[in-house]
């Protein structure tokens, strides 16, 4: 599903990733961990296609991101859900509208958009807050809206960047349970996190990054 070959990424003089070789199978659940600045976010952004590698190859579902056209990248992103560290919710839109956006841009039918958005919000336990605006929600609720938006289009791959960064232990557990449920439906899940409690006892594959290199795989 995701294949990375000799991947390097520089930001000027700073090397963010060096010689990353990784293969994530369809339906796998993978944690990417490491200290701040290890390159976790950069790795996810490269897989998502919002950054281009300095060198190396990225294959998503057998499509080479180095050779993909702009419009095909847009189409590929419809199959990939991304949960951003800073949520990236639109404050002037309601919870419902934020989640529905993912389907509206694909041009789905209104009735289908409504049905799927309700389903998705029920899954993250936010059905009763669908008319609320993001800024009136707690950090954990905003995170769940971001997750609902990422999963509403039934993505093949779900990427999550520090999804529990600002949450307490109970909420972290809830979010992890949510990811596990999504994974059990067949979605490939890649979660970048530095919170040990999330991956330590999970029994899932964990990749440890340090200074842009894979130093350990569990």
């Amino acid at each position: 599903m995701i294949q990375l070959f000799h991947l390097f990424k520089d930001f000027g003089p700073n090397v963010a990733l060096r010689d990353i070789n990784l293969r994530i199978l369809k339906g796998e659940f993978v944690f990417v961990t490491g200290p701040s600045g290890a390159g976790k976010t950069t790795l996810l952004r490269l897989i998502f296609g919002s950054e281009r590698p300095t060198s190396g190859q990225i294959l998503i579902n057998a499509i080479n991101l180095n050779r993909i056209s702009r419009s095909n990248l847009d189409r590929l992103r419809r199959k990939v859900g991304f949960v951003f560290q800073d949520f990236k919710l639109l404050p002037q839109k309601t919870v419902f509208e934020n989640v529905a956006l993912s389907l509206e841009v694909i041009g789905e039918r209104r009735s289908f958009v409504r049905k799927k958005t309700h389903q998705s919000l029920r899954l993250v336990n936010l059905a009763e807050k669908e008319q609320a605006y993001p800024l009136s929600l707690s950090g954990g609720e905003q995170q769940r809206v971001a997750i609902a938006r990422a999963i509403v289009k039934d993505p093949l791959i779900l990427l999550a960047d520090e999804p529990t960064g600002n949450l307490d232990a109970d909420l972290t557990k809830d979010i992890f349970t949510l990811f596990r449920d999504i994974h059990q439906k067949g979605t490939t899940v890649v979660v970048a996190t530095h919170s040990q409690e999330l991956f330590e006892d999970s029994g899932q594959r964990t990749i440890v990054l340090k200074q842009g290199k894979i130093v350990e795989e569990k």
């Binding site: 847009d74 951003f84 990236k88 993912s102 041009g107």
Partner: protein
């Protein structure tokens, strides 16, 4: 493209306009003033042109007769004139009537004529060419043919005046094209900047739309619609205001340079459509420029 997409684009465009009301009101107002300026100019041109054309069609001509012309010859000239298409002899001015008229025109100075031993003024036929005959009158050709007839001394019509006016009309037309060109550039500048501001105000949303898989055109389309709507509304408002102005003025009879009643005309349908299409096109092109220049995601 599917209908529901267009309804989404339209909703987004209207929402953009509502969220950036002030910018749009200023942009629309400036665009409206520009179209009004050009429209007023065009309307003046059309009216002057119609008036000059009309004047050319209702041409009057004075055919001066030779001294001591026989009645038979005079009748022959008269019947020759009557055979011309659209021509009508308004009246015959005899030598005596001509002198009487001159006396009237001179008024207090009529004493000057007392010293004359004989009446030097020729008799003349006043000919009018009626308008609406659907054919162009060539006064120069008629003048030449008439002057060749026996008994005709001279033929006069206000040819120079007409020629000068037609020259002026050409000048007005060229000036109109130049003014129109500058106004179009101004309008493009206004629309581009209005759309640029709305793009900036939605930068965050555009980024998120791209991240959830929207194509470039999906994100750009509402902005293009925004410019098109701005152009269309400005065009319609400008035509409405111009028509209101025309309606108010046309109820009054306008006199122009002591040359008679000046009947106002409004744009023909083709011109109205052209103004509307040009406004829409300017709005669309302006927003296309903005989208191409300021869309960097």
């Amino acid at each position: 493209m599917k209908l529901r997409r267009w309804s989404y684009f339209l909703r987004q465009a209207l929402m953009n306009i509502m969220n950036n009301r002030l910018v749009h009101v200023i942009g629309l107002g400036t665009m409206l003033v520009s179209i009004l300026l050009f429209g007023t100019y065009l309307l003046l041109f059309i009216n002057l042109n119609a008036w000059v054309q009309g004047w050319g069609h209702s041409l009057s001509m004075s055919v001066y007769l030779e001294e001591g012309i026989s009645e038979a010859k005079r009748d022959m000239i008269a019947s020759w004139i009557k055979s011309l298409p659209a021509a009508e002899i308004e009246r015959l001015i005899t030598k005596e009537e001509a002198l009487k008229e001159l006396r009237r025109v001179l008024g207090d100075q009529a004493g000057l004529l007392e010293g004359l031993s004989a009446n030097p003024l020729p008799a003349s036929l006043q000919v009018v060419f009626e308008k609406g005959e659907g054919q162009r009158i060539d006064p120069e050709r008629i003048k030449k043919e008439l002057e060749m007839l026996e008994g005709v001394e001279e033929v006069q019509y206000s040819e120079d005046w007409l020629k000068q006016f037609k020259g002026l009309m050409r000048l007005i037309r060229v000036a109109g094209v130049i003014i129109g060109g500058f106004l179009c550039m101004g309008i493009l500048f206004i629309v581009t900047n209005t759309i640029k501001l709305t793009i900036y105000s939605r930068k965050e949303e555009i980024e998120i739309l791209k991240l959830v898989g929207a194509t470039d055109w999906f994100v750009k389309m509402p902005f293009l619609l925004e410019g098109t709507i701005q152009g269309m509304v400005s065009g319609i408002l400008a035509l409405f205001i111009l028509f209101a102005g025309y309606y108010l003025l046309s109820t009054e009879k306008i006199h122009f340079a002591n040359l008679g009643v000046f009947d106002l005309v409004f744009f023909p349908h083709g011109y109205m459509l052209l103004i509307l299409l040009a406004s829409v096109a300017l709005g669309l092109v302006g927003s296309l420029i903005a989208v191409r220049r300021f869309f960097d995601i």
